[in-house]
């Protein structure tokens, strides 16, 4: 097909060659071509945040971003949060606080929270709620997720 393009993506510090149609979104390329399935497809409409990844450290809905446009930029998915054998403090705290139920929103929540804490190391509860406002969770009622983010902030910046 004439619309197949070849390019490279850098995901979690690794280089991946990609052959994919020009119009493919970043979400589908990360899942199907790169092979990392931690990034989820929820609404596929930029509403729910399940597909959140970081692009050069900033949160992006990967369902609504062209994969071909992400070449040359640093993509971080939930698989890139773990530090060696250790879970990222956000991952540990969201588990310990009970902020994971079905788990479908969790990767997106973790990435939005990562970007938030990078920008604002000591967020108020309101700051956390705004920072996570592009991520929907249908199970937890949010309180435990917010608590996990605040606990992480307190641990990292006591």
């Amino acid at each position: 097909m004439s619309d197949i393009v070849n390019y490279h993506l850098t995901v979690n510090g690794m280089d991946y060659p990609v052959n994919a149609a020009q119009g493919r979104n970043l979400l589908s390329v990360i899942r199907a071509e790169v092979g990392l399935t931690g990034t989820k497809e929820g609404c596929d409409d930029c509403e729910c945040g399940a597909c959140m990844v970081l692009l050069d450290g900033q949160p992006v809905n990967s369902c609504s971003f062209l994969a071909v446009q992400a070449q040359g930029r640093a993509i971080t998915t939930v698989e890139g949060l773990q530090q060696g054998d250790e879970m990222h403090p956000l991952q540990r705290n969201i588990l310990e606080e009970g902020g994971v139920q079905c788990g479908f929103c969790t990767p997106g929540m973790l990435l939005s929270a990562t970007a938030l804490l990078e920008r604002n190391p000591s967020p108020t509860e309101e700051d956390v709620r705004i920072g996570l406002s592009g991520n929907l969770c249908r199970c937890t009622g949010y309180a435990k997720i917010v608590a996990a983010v605040q606990r992480t902030a307190a641990e990292l910046h006591p």
């Binding site: 020009q22 979104n25 949160p59 062209l66 446009q69 939005s112 592009g134």
Partner: protein, 295 residues
């Protein structure tokens, strides 16, 4: 099919001249294509890595905001959020943190939605879009630029490169509010912006009001008389409800929109006046004074 990443404005203009369409954050283009609103263009040029489109230039005469400046920056920029607060109010309400990160002012303006959050603030601030092509450059006021829902008067080879706003008179400021059902990923049910100048005696000496999501484009309200802040706010509310031409859709009935846009207009005038008098009303007004405010 082609996709190029432009790193200079010239490269982008060359691509547009040969039929390519620009993509910045893609949040309108990619979602629109998936919804069948418009297929993804065959030839695309990415304009998000062009430094010239990222500048915010402040002079005594006013501010020039590059079309590639994103909403997060406009929300938090110290000068914009003070002197052009209504615009920062609008940017602060766009989408979610991630949308504000990829979504640009130029993209919002050229998508030309009647529900766009930066539209009525730009209208009341008297903003002009700078359109550039290989043929030259021109500036167009917002009322001339927007011609219908998703339609504008720019030619296919013209790129919106910047938005220019003149420095407001002393004791002036602006505000934008919208009615929303959700705090994030929301489209204005209705919205209103006001720009107000306060005279030495405390009365309103100049006012402009524009409305969001109540007509095929952003519209400016005409014929608002001057007087005290309370009088002008009441007059703006009445004129807004009268001049709105809303539709009924999944988000609200025309009747509800006509009523609530008046409420938004009144609150926008009041918030702009408070700011013009030097009272700090934080960005966005929606979170500062009630709609969606933290409890």
């Amino acid at each position: 099919m082609s996709f190029t990443i432009a790193t200079t404005l010239d490269e982008a203009l060359q691509a547009l001249a040969t039929g390519a369409r620009p993509v910045a954050g893609g949040s309108d283009l990619v979602v629109g294509a998936r919804h069948g609103k418009a297929p993804l263009p065959e030839h695309l040029v990415a304009i998000d890595r062009i430094t010239e489109l990222q500048c915010i230039e402040v002079t005594d005469a006013g501010v020039c905001i590059g079309a590639g400046v994103n909403h997060h920056i406009i929300e938090h920029h110290p000068l914009l959020s003070n002197a052009f607060a209504g615009l920062s109010d609008g940017s602060a309400l766009v989408g979610s943190p991630s949308t504000r990160n990829v979504g640009t002012l130029g993209g919002n303006v050229m998508n030309s939605s009647p529900a766009m959050d930066t539209g009525s603030p730009l209208m009341v601030l008297g903003a002009e879009a700078e359109l550039r092509s290989l043929r030259g450059s021109r500036r167009v006021g917002m009322a001339e630029l927007w011609t219908g829902p998703g339609r504008h008067s720019a030619e296919a080879d013209e790129l919106c490169v910047a938005i220019h706003i003149a420095t407001p008179a002393p004791r002036s400021n602006s505000a934008y509010l919208r009615l929303e059902y959700r705090r994030s990923m929301e489209i204005a049910v209705v919205g209103a912006a006001a720009a107000v100048t306060i005279a030495d005696d405390g009365s309103v000496s100049a006012v402009r009001v524009a409305l969001t999501a109540v007509a095929p484009t952003i519209i400016e309200v005409t014929g608002i008389g001057l007087g005290s802040v309370a009088e002008v706010a009441a007059a703006a509310a009445a004129a807004a409800s009268e001049q709105a031409r809303p539709i009924s859709d999944v988000r609200a009935s025309d009747k509800y929109r006509r009523h609530t846009v008046g409420v938004m207009a009144r609150r926008a005038v009041e918030a702009a006046a408070r700011r013009a008098l030097g009272e700090p009303v934080s960005v966005p007004v929606n979170r500062a004074i009630g709609i969606g405010a933290a409890s």
